[in-house]
């Protein structure tokens, strides 16, 4: 059975040029970039080239790029640096609050909540029913204790593109009035290579990226951190990455990341147009299936432009997403329920719950995510499978269609 991969938001199939780059750099430029000899210098050169490429891709300066192990580390190291700066005897010991949203990836949402036990506090702003976080709601959540605001650029479960520029503007206005800096971070993991990402025009101080979402290898990502921001990174070691992320650098990973990201950004407009056609095809096909819902409904209409065409959330309530994923898998289609990173039962419906969906509907959510090599034929086959398999399952789970029929069949009743 040919497998059709529709779970690009969990991890994208690797791009061959990126993996070749990783292999070549691993084999040839194995020196430690911190070493003063030729092999070390050669590795350092490759690393700095990769850094410059990536900086160009996101419209930053090379010195503002810190290579990390991926999106999660980028997110958590930034949050924990707040702890280092404001709580653990850092430069500026005081109360500290993080303002974020209810739709963040667990490495922001749960990490921010976790910091609550260490004397920090956290506010999670809920999105509206259309999946969008209102910039005014974020502004309203700010107070004198707020030191960091983190709002993701593209939501990983629904694909909603958040108004990060406006939010950053509102936060900046607030902090200028109060004369106290608030760091503005965005988790741009699902945005890179899919929608234009310029950290300068977004107006953020920090942003997180991951290579394996754009066809690069696992274990490499980046944190953009603006020159004039001085967080208190907690990890200490050999002083690599200008003291911001210790540990011998993953040179091969960084080079492969740069190749993959460069490739995606070069073809961004073409890919985006293709993905938009796929999304439209998916949405109109799904609508032909009884009980199909698109989450949020408005993305199929007036809000279409506010969503990444690469991620689509849908469902067939009351069928749980788990069942649909299982049936799809049996037919060779790889899709997801919500986020692949939320395996904990309790957290599985956090994002749809926060949008005001009832629990049964929230449990029905599946996520279909596509990429540059997804074809219209694959989408058609996927839709055909759903059209065939879903209605019988819906009949079973929804029960008998007309109570009168069975009442008649089962003879006289005591009531």
């Amino acid at each position: 059975m040919d497998r059709v991969y529709l779970d690009w938001a969990a991890s994208a199939p690797p791009e061959e040029p990126a993996i070749r780059e990783a292999a070549e750099v691993s084999l040839l430029c194995f020196g430690n970039p911190s070493s003063p000899h030729g092999a070390g210098k050669e590795a350092a050169d490759r690393l700095e080239n990769a850094r410059a490429t990536l900086a160009g891709v996101i419209d930053a300066s090379p010195s503002e790029i810190v290579f990390t192990s991926g999106g999660t580390e980028s997110n958590t190291s930034l949050l924990l640096s707040i702890l280092g700066r404001y709580r653990l005897g850092g430069a500026e010991r005081r109360k500290a609050r993080i303002v974020t949203t209810a739709i963040e990836h667990a490495s922001i949402h749960d990490q921010a909540l976790g910091l609550g036990t260490l004397g920090m506090s956290c506010t999670a702003v809920k999105p509206a029913a259309n999946g969008m976080v209102d910039p005014q709601a974020v502004a309203d959540a700010l107070d004198d204790e707020t030191v960091l605001v983190s709002v993701m650029l593209v939501n990983n479960e629904m694909g909603a593109i958040q108004k990060v520029t406006e939010i950053a503007g509102a936060v900046r206005a607030f902090s200028e009035r109060r004369g106290r800096r608030i760091i503005i971070h965005t988790d741009a993991v699902q945005a890179l290579g899919k929608i234009p990402v310029s950290v300068a025009s977004l107006g953020v101080d920090a942003a997180s990226f991951s290579a394996h979402k754009v066809g690069g290898p696992r274990g490499i990502g980046a944190l953009y951190i603006r020159k004039d921001v001085v967080p208190g990174f907690l990890a200490v070691g050999g002083g690599q990455e200008a003291g911001r992320r210790p540990g011998t650098e993953n040179v091969a990973g960084a080079c492969a990341f740069a190749v993959a990201a460069g490739e995606r950004v070069t073809r961004l407009a073409i890919n985006h147009a293709a993905a938009s056609r796929l999304a439209e095809r998916l949405i109109s096909g799904l609508k032909e299936i009884r009980a199909a819902r698109i989450f949020p409904e408005s993305r199929a209409g007036r809000d279409a432009a506010s969503f990444s065409p690469y991620i689509l959330s849908a469902g067939f309530p009351p069928l749980t997403g788990e069942i649909v994923v299982r049936v799809a898998d049996e037919h060779g289609f790889c899709i997801a329920t919500g986020s692949a990173c939320s395996t904990k039962k309790k957290d599985r419906t956090r994002v749809p719950d926060s949008m005001g969906l009832d629990h049964q509907t929230a449990l029905s959510a599946i996520r279909v995510s596509v990429g540059p090599s997804t074809t219209e034929e694959q989408i058609d086959n996927f839709l055909a499978m759903l059209k065939k398999e879903i209605p019988p399952l819906l009949s079973i789970s929804q029960g008998r269609p007309d109570p009168a029929v069975t009442a008649a069949a089962s003879g006289p009743r005591d009531d």
Binding site: P318, L319, T320, E322, I323, R326, V327, E330, K345, L363, P392, L393, S395, I396, S397, Q398, G399, R400, P403, T406, A409, S410, G411, R413, D414
Partner: protein
């Protein structure tokens, strides 16, 4: 202990290990005491069989032999397998206690030498210096009385180990000596799980879900000597492969206590579909239970099962009220045994922990999808009315297909 055997002095060292017809090879011998009911003549064969299967179930490759004489069963194995065999004995129902034993010739000198070997070992193990010797003389042709043997052994040991003190009221350890076809000597014993040997009380069909209760129910019936066949109802794609694997794992754990258990995996999705199609929402759970009872009762007829076993506990959920049980029980032509009926959840959990099923049961793969639990199930159903609803399902043909397509796993992991 094996090394201690080898180090034992004199003739005892040469004779102590010669287990039943094993020639010159060193063998470890276990003396097993079993429950009163197992003494009954017709149960003895089942007991020995169960013991063999219990050891084999856990240790398929192991070489051992089991033989029994009046009142005692002996298991001999290679010394390197002794811990595994002891583990198997510890969970073989019918075993009251067991201990490693030395078997020597039926003469007083051999008994003395073996006593010295064992006492030396107990001292070396730090078991203490206060001891007593207990003698049973089943073979009355032996020229000394039990009392005389005990006195002689006591004297020999105190002469050999000056630190030893006889204390018949509060000994640190007891040296037991049994004079039978041979003389058997052993020290402190380990407890067995009591109960009756599996297979001595017929065969039951266990409705096994992935939950906490049903494995405990199965274990309790195995404890009373019942051989088990387990039945698992799965509903793909509504239930996952992982849920099925979990039930296979639970059946495997039960197999440690109920050797020879098989697991029947039944696709119940067509049954579910029929119920959802025909039944009122609040009746769905009860009718599903009823179909499971009916199915298992039919299966029992083919497999020689004599009863159904369920993990029901009175009032735990809507389908376990006395009215619900009255209805679902109607669908089985065989008695339905519910060993947990009067137990609280906490009590059930504590048994589940003890027998090692709790952690597996607690894995988060639901055995029945929330989709099929009505928000307001019937709690006090009218049995006659439910029976009419059941009859309206016309489910027999679907159940027959389910039996025909059922999968049977003979050695669940």
């Amino acid at each position: 202990m094996t090394d201690a055997h080898r180090d034992a002095p004199g003739a005892a060292a040469r004779t102590a290990h010669t287990a039943h017809s094993s020639g010159a090879e060193f063998r470890t011998l276990f003396l097993v005491k079993y429950g009163e009911i197992a003494l009954k003549k017709r149960n003895r064969g089942a007991f020995v069989k169960s013991l063999k299967e219990s050891i084999r179930a856990h240790l398929p490759g192991i070489s051992f032999s089991v033989y029994e004489t009046f009142h005692r069963v002996f298991v001999s194995c290679r010394p390197e397998d002794r811990e595994k065999v002891a583990d198997a004995l510890g969970r073989t129902f019918g075993v009251v206690s067991f201990s490693e034993a030395l078997r020597v010739g039926r003469d007083i000198q051999a008994v003395e030498e073996a006593s010295v070997a064992l006492a030396g070992r107990f001292l070396a193990e730090g078991r203490g210096s206060r001891f007593k010797a207990e003698v049973r003389r089943a073979e009355k042709s032996f020229p000394m009385t039990s009392y005389e043997i005990a006195c002689r052994v006591g004297d020999v040991l105190r002469a050999r180990f000056p630190d030893l003190v006889v204390d018949v009221h509060n000994p640190d350890w007891v040296l037991s000596i049994e004079i039978r076809d041979h003389a058997y000597l052993y020290g402190p014993q380990s407890d067995g799980p009591y109960g009756l040997p599996v297979g001595s009380s017929g065969k039951g069909m266990l409705l096994l879900s992935g939950g906490i209760d049903s494995p405990v129910a199965g274990w309790m019936m195995a404890k009373r000597g019942m051989a088990l066949e387990a039945v698992y109802f799965h509903s793909p794609p509504f239930t996952s492969q992982k849920a099925r694997e979990k039930v296979e794992a639970l059946a495997g754990i039960l197999g440690r206590y109920a050797p020879g258990i098989v697991l029947h995996v039944v696709n119940f999705t067509p049954v579910l579909a029929r119920i959802k199609e025909k039944a009122r929402e609040e009746e769905v759970t009860l009718l599903l239970r009823a179909c499971m009872m009916r199915f298992t009762s039919l299966l029992a007829g083919r497999r020689g099962g004599q009863c159904l076993v369920t993990g029901e506990s009175l009032g735990q959920v809507a389908s376990q009220t006395v009215e619900s049980i009255a209805f679902t029980g109607m669908l089985s032509e065989l008695p339905v045994l519910r060993p947990l009926i009067g137990m609280n959840k906490e009590e059930i959990i504590s048994v589940a922990r003890k027998i090692g099923t709790f952690e597996t049961s607690n894995l988060p793969f639901e055995d029945c999808c929330v989709l099929f639990s009505p928000p307001h199930p019937l709690i006090h159903p009218d049995a006659a009315r439910m029976k009419r609803s059941y009859d309206c399902l016309s489910i027999d043909a679907i159940l027959a297909t389910a039996i025909a397509e059922m999968e049977t796993v003979s050695a669940p992991r």
